[in-house]
């Protein structure tokens, strides 16, 4: 358990660094960190599912300028962690319930994380003001030290947010499980209804707004149908 906590907090810290502060190799993308967290906790499918949904959800948001984005990596890792705790808790919790709970937790934590990012930037602003003041008084500053400080703050923000969020949400989820007597239900009806709605609503939206996207959509449908017929 301690090993799992350490690994996930480490992953959250590293992915938080990748978002803005360092590298930007995109290991902070929900699909990547969700998959990673899924493998770390032993539930890869839950990790991939949560990662996929969040990847699609936030693929349009751009980390440009001062705009604070949802803290996607910390949210995703925390969400996968929560789903894994629920799946492995021995309670009568369905896979769908666990994954959905993880997904919702991920979104909530990402929104809270957005404000911790703002706080981190304000802290960097204060650091910058102190450096300017030192220069004004004729003193020197070692940039390596300031850089190490900002990287440490960024890492700790991600790791601690993940730890605290999962602790709090686990307690809430257990209470919800106890109160709701969660059991596996037939999910097919829900899936059919919402798919019907999706098809009914989205295709007219396509036709009206999408212009060149309509042929692309038709191409996708055609390809999938051909493949389906080929493989039966």
């Amino acid at each position: 358990m301690l090993r799992e906590i350490s690994l996930l907090c480490l992953a959250a810290g590293v992915c938080a660094l990748d978002t803005t502060a360092a590298w930007q190799l995109m290991i902070s993308q929900p699909l990547v960190c969700g998959t990673l967290a899924g493998f770390l906790v032993g539930f890869p499918d839950a990790g991939v599912f949560i990662g996929v949904v969040l990847q699609l959800l936030w693929s349009g948001s751009m980390p440009v300028g001062a705009l604070p984005m949802p803290d996607a990596p910390v949210g995703t890792i925390s969400g996968v962690w929560l789903a894994a705790i629920l799946l492995g808790s021995g309670q009568a919790v369905s896979t769908s319930f666990s994954q959905l709970a993880g997904l919702l937790a991920a979104m909530c934590i990402a929104l809270v994380g957005r404000w911790t990012i703002v706080w981190e930037r304000e802290l960097s602003s204060r650091l910058f003001q102190r450096i300017r003041a030192r220069f004004s008084s004729g003193k020197t500053v070692n940039p390596d030290v300031t850089q190490a400080l900002t990287l440490t703050v960024s890492f700790l923000r991600g790791a601690l947010l993940c730890l605290i969020a999962v602790g709090v949400l686990y307690a809430i989820a257990l209470a919800l499980v106890a109160a709701g007597n969660v059991v596996e239900i037939d999910y097919k009806l829900v899936v059919l209804v919402v798919q019907g709605l999706a098809i009914g609503v989205l295709i007219p939206v396509f036709a009206r707004r999408a212009k060149g996207r309509l042929p692309a959509f038709a191409g996708g449908v055609a390809l999938a149908l051909v493949v389906r017929n080929l493989i039966g």
């Binding site: 502060a21 360092a22 930007q24 190799l25 995109m26 969700g34 998959t35 493998f39 890869p44 499918d45 991939v48 599912f49 996929v52 949904v53 699609l56 959800l57 936030w58 693929s59 349009g60 980390p63 001062a66 369905s94 319930f97 959905l100 709970a101 997904l103 919702l104 909530c108 990402a110 304000e122 960097s124 910058f128 450096i131 300017r132 220069f135 390596d144 850089q147 900002t150 990287l151 960024s154 969660v182 059991v183 239900i185 829900v190 999706a198 098809i199 989205l202 939206v205 999408a210 060149g212 692309a216 959509f217 191409g219 996708g220 449908v221 055609a222 390809l223 999938a224 149908l225 389906r228």
Partner: protein
């Protein structure tokens, strides 16, 4: 004199250090000076090689603490060119004003080109490719995303520093000729194509990794491909939370009674 000139050169090791440090440009991102803390950190490695100590080193660092903001990947061109100009400044061939002018002249166009390509085009496309792959082979999707994005990312990071250093002020015309394609308007097409594939897959119950959860994946693909009005997309997380809560309640059999 010759030995002194050699001492005040970056060399390959120095340029490689700049490449490595360029990955930390945004570490001290703040509202006062944006990327200036990171830029000063990157250039300090050049400063140790080029600038003589004391007052020159202090002025060197202070010069790079001025407000700075650009695309973090294409910033590598500015880093390389600035290192070259600092080298010439140490030899007395360039003024500090020229260095500052070069930085500010390049920051805006590179931000525009870089943000459109890396953030608005490459990242969503890499994400969609990753998602489609993940639908069939699970965890491999993450690797596809990483490989797609980083092929371009690392190429421009490394090339930028070396080209910038080789060209010095000439990097301005190089940047003007830079033909980095923008696929931002193709992102919607790729999203639409993915939606078509997934729709058929979901309706026919293919053995996708998230077959049952396609109910949530499909609307997300539609949103990602920019099909819904901008006003709805701004509140996407909040809308998704509401949809998710409804789904959670429906999933919890006990709550359905």
């Amino acid at each position: 004199m010759g030995q002194e000139m050699e001492e005040k050169s970056m060399g390959k090791a120095g340029l490689l250090t700049l490449v490595i440090r360029s990955f930390y440009l945004q570490a001290g991102w703040n509202y006062e000076s944006l990327q200036a803390l990171g830029f000063a950190y990157i250039m300090s490695s050049a400063g140790r090689r080029i600038a003589s100590g004391g007052e020159a080193a202090r002025k060197f660092f202070e010069r790079h603490l001025a407000l700075f903001n650009t695309n973090p990947v294409l910033a590598s061109y500015i880093i390389g060119a600035t290192a070259k100009l600092e080298e010439e400044h140490a030899r007395g061939k360039t003024s500090s004003a020229e260095i500052e002018t070069l930085k500010s002249a390049l920051a805006v166009p590179l931000a525009s080109v870089g943000d459109r390509f890396f953030w608005a085009s490459l990242r969503p496309i890499a994400g969609l490719l990753g998602v489609l792959t993940a639908g069939v082979v699970g965890g491999v999707g993450a690797l596809v995303l990483l490989a797609t994005y980083n092929t371009f990312h690392l190429y421009y990071r490394i090339k930028g520093v070396f080209r910038g250093y080789a060209l010095g002020t000439g990097v301005v015309s190089e940047v003007a000729r830079l033909r980095i394609p923008s696929f931002s308007h193709h992102v919607g097409w790729i999203g639409a194509f993915a939606l078509g594939v997934l729709l058929v897959a979901a309706v026919h119950g293919w053995q996708l990794v998230w077959r049952r959860e396609a109910v949530f994946v499909l609307p997300c693909v539609a949103l990602a491909s920019g099909l819904l009005p901008e006003s709805l997309r701004k509140r996407i997380t909040e809308i998704a939370l509401v949809v998710g809560v409804v789904g959670l309640l429906l999933t919890a059999g006990g709550l359905l009674g």
